[in-house]
Each structure stands twice: as structure tokens, then as C-alpha cells.
Symmetry: C2
Subunit: 117 residues, 2 copies
Amino acid sequence: MVVKEQAVVKEGLRGGQGHVVLYPILSAEELMGHATMYARVVIPPHCSIGWHQHVGNTEPYYILKGEGVFTDNDGTKTVVHAGDICKIRCGESHAIANESEEDMEMIALVVNEGPAE
Amino acid sequence: MVVKEQAVVKEGLRGGQGHVVLYPILSAEELMGHATMYARVVIPPHCSIGWHQHVGNTEPYYILKGEGVFTDNDGTKTVVHAGDICKIRCGESHAIANESEEDMEMIALVVNEGPAE
């Protein structure tokens, strides 16, 4: 089955600035308890996803387009571009911001730590 | 931790024509038994991933760029573009081909059906 992605706008995601636009790829139900979120994420200029912790799961960000500032668990900030993979371990925290004048895009996947729920 | 993606060339993937280039996002180990493959996939012009079945897992293709011809479980062929999500149920089969003159890109994720392995 081929379906078109659908935009979902989220304001202040995880306490971030402005809004981000999610384009879900699979629903939580379709992820069958193995993951809880799988989506393309567009972060407009000067918008961000706030600092948040992943207890019982992890969430790699895979950068598709534009420039982001990734904040890692230890507070380190790294400027990231297409082809960069921002990984955290289960239990760690992260954030990402678009401080540029162009949209930034990434794929986000929240993978559970334990057995399928 | 931020890491750069690394290309892995696969010839005749699933019996397909030519080659495809995989850019793994997480390893099977990092997917913790919930999924077995998560990668950006570049399919060059006139190359393809052959028809194959997913027993015990599913594999949505999320199209990022270019034009592909997706073959669904019932043999139906659909021309797909950026933003299209090609879904199959666990146990079903699929294939995808790039019949155009430009690269086609997608994200592939193989999600397990049962509990984490």
C-alpha cells in the first residue's frame, strides 16, 4: 500500500522554540511495540526541539538537509548536516536547534530498550 | 555522539538489477532486537531491489528523492516520489526499481513482528 505523508504541526516540542512539522512514516501501532515514533521532522529557521531525556528508549536523529545544532547528553554542541547521525544511549538526553535561515530536516526514530511492549 | 554515515555498496540486492548504496543509520545491535536494518538507500538509474518476502518482520520504504516503481504484495506497480510511504504487512513481499535517469533515495527500516529477539 502506498500512502502520502501527512503533516502534523507541533508547537514548543519538548519545550523547544517555535514549531516543528512532523511527517509520520509509521504509527505507533504499525511499529508493533518496538518503537513509538518514526517520522521525518522539519525544523524551520530559529525553531528547536528542547532538551529531553529518553528513559527506556533511544532516539537517533539522522540529518537529511540543512544545518542543525545538536546538543548531546554531556551538553556538547555540534553543528550537523546531511548524512550526520546523532546517537544517544537509552537513558540519555538531547536537543536540536535550527539556528540557520533555511529549513532543517531529519528522520527521528524512537526505539524501545526492552522487549516489545 | 555524532557520526558520519558510511556507504556500503550492495550488488544485485534481493536479486535486483545493478547495485544500490546503503547508508546505515543504526546497526542491528543498536536496534536492540526490535529491528534488523535501518538505512538510507540510494538506487541509481536502472537499478533495483528484487522481489522478496518479509517473514516475521515488515519493511516500509519512505521515499526521499527521485522516482521509483514500487511493486506491492499483490503485484500492483505504483510510481512513487518524495513523501510516499510504501507499506507492507508482515509476511508480505515487495520490490522497488528506479527506471528513471536520476538517483532515487529512500529510508528503509526492517521492524520485527514479535517480541525483541
